[in-house]
Assembly symmetry: C2
Homo-oligomer: 328 residues x 2
């Protein structure tokens, strides 16, 4: 099938709006359905940020922006679209009904993807007449900049649907990761969730403030994680002895009491108050738009820097730029 | 007390050698004790990498390199040194005896730091006559580039010793993080360990290969973590509703089965074989020196990019460069 020309988007929050910006800036038309009366304003704000980011990110010629339309129903959103992406709030019943509605309103060869962070595609497709075209396409915030999208098929999803979704994502500069097994949280969110639980314990137990937890990441391992995951990092830590040496040296530490892995902190009002207070102190008066701009500026700096290295996100960006230059 | 002029280093492996490079490139003399007959060769290799990294990292005038000497005993290493850093293998008895030996051989006002990843400073100082000058100073690999160093006092450590260690680390361009409570693994390694356990489960259960786990980090959340930790990221994810909105929306997900947090995978020979094979495939013929060079090149690119943003590691680098320029 040819490249994607128009997408139907269901949901226009932080994630759906990020998808809209990603597709529009790649020259794809967008039909966005969101019942929120503020949807148009929110989309415009995200799009402003995304344009600014891409302008400083690359000097490759960006295509003419796609045409964005806010529509008032699911069937209008999917009408004429050659790909559909659902990004509703993380409630199974809500997603199931939206997906069934999109399923009924679009030709059966159109692939429908869900942005769910962790719900199983087989469950999501329960009410669909054509569950074989449903995949999970789980992106990361901000969707218009971060390349990762996890692609996970359900029990009845066809290989063709998975490949179509991966091709669509690649065509807009992303780095799809095919997930081998249907599992709650897929891969990335399981890793993030493990770290997040421990972070909550550290704050709950008064070991660190939210700012100190963040500093412990961003001044150390976080800098490495922007281009190299845990396994390759530890292979290097094994020195000349390599991965097996590392595992035999540090494997036993897994049994030490270095995480509170047996339990989950209860989100009491006290803990909520602590986190809110400390988070306010950390933000130091910056509102969410300021923080988004800071985040985007840093991301652009990091991704631009990595473009000089033919590896990781740098390679993804470089190959997308190459395609843009070929088309221009 | 004045800036540090000479340090005594105990241990010259990946971490100790990284300290040597960090101090030498900052113009500090190093006396390194390591019983490994290969110590000199290993140090020279690390130093070559570190010099290359700093040359591309900054155009600030680096000071004349310190003088590095490999010595054959603990007492020679600490003799005349105004700061001591121990980086022996992670065995309590070994570290205790080295620290006691350094304690006996140096004036009682010299601060002694241990690079331990997670052993408690109170335990480490058990055999010292002057436990009040022992702190943990836990760095991250590669020590000559990553700014983070966790500083953790034991029960008997003085405030002055903590402040001295923090000042020494800042003087060589690092970003010390004071740890509030003595706890196994401190802060950063508890977070890393939580993620690492889940990563091992994913490989153990055949959900992902080691390369896929790494990709799930470095093309997504890892890019953000290079400048922004988990809490600030989630505050932004809360959108206009902020941190409390995020917590109430995603707090319940903590109870979902998104991690195998109740258990630790057993490191069987089968799992070791799988990890080794997949890690070899991922490295694709690159040896550890190749991988170190790739890592350093990426780190330099990321840190250089962030220098343009007055935030995170960029701010640390910029303030160090400013001090170097003042001194030149």
């Amino acid at each position: 099938m040819a490249e994607v020309r128009a997408v139907g988007l269901l949901g226009g929050g932080v994630i759906g709006g990020g998808w809209a910006a990603r597709f529009l800036l790649a020259g794809v038309d967008v039909q966005l359905y969101d019942p929120d009366p503020q949807a148009e304003r929110k989309l415009a704000e995200i799009l402003t940020n995304a344009r600014a980011a891409w302008t400083s990110l690359t000097d490759a010629p960006l295509p003419a922006e796609g045409r964005g339309t806010i529509v008032s129903s699911v069937s209008e959103a999917v009408s004429g679209a050659d790909f559909v992406q659902e990004s509703a709030p993380e409630r199974l019943d809500l997603k199931q009904s939206l997906l069934a509605e999109a399923d009924a309103a679009s030709g059966p060869d159109i692939v429908i993807a869900s942005s769910t962070s962790g719900l199983l595609p087989t469950l999501l497709s329960a009410d669909m007449a054509h569950p074989e075209r449903l995949v999970v396409g789980h992106p990361f915030n901000p969707v218009y900049l971060l390349p990762l999208v996890e692609v996970c098929p359900g029990e009845r999803t066809t290989v063709a649907a998975v490949e179509r979704a991966m091709a669509v994502y690649e065509s807009v500069g992303m780095r799809p990761l095919r997930i081998r097994k249907e599992i709650d949280g897929f891969v990335a969110d399981r890793l993030l969730e493990a770290l997040w639980r421990e972070a909550l314990w550290l704050v709950n137990d008064g070991v660190a403030t939210v700012e100190e937890v963040d500093d412990a990441i961003r001044f150390g391992a976080g800098l490495r994680w922007s281009f190299m995951g845990t396994f390759l990092t530890y292979r290097i830590a094994g020195g000349e002895g390599g991965m097996r040496h590392f595992m035999s040296q540090f494997g036993p530490a897994l049994q030490w009491p270095w995480t509170k892995l047996m339990d989950v902190p209860e989100i009491t009002d006290d803990l909520l108050d602590t986190i809110e207070e400390q988070s306010d102190a950390q933000a130091d008066g910056a509102d969410v738009r300021d923080l988004e701009r800071l985040r985007d500026r840093c991301l652009v700096a990091v991704m631009q820097g990595l473009r000089e290295v033919p590896y990781g996100a740098g390679a993804t960006l470089a190959s997308y730029e190459e395609r843009l230059r070929e088309k221009a």
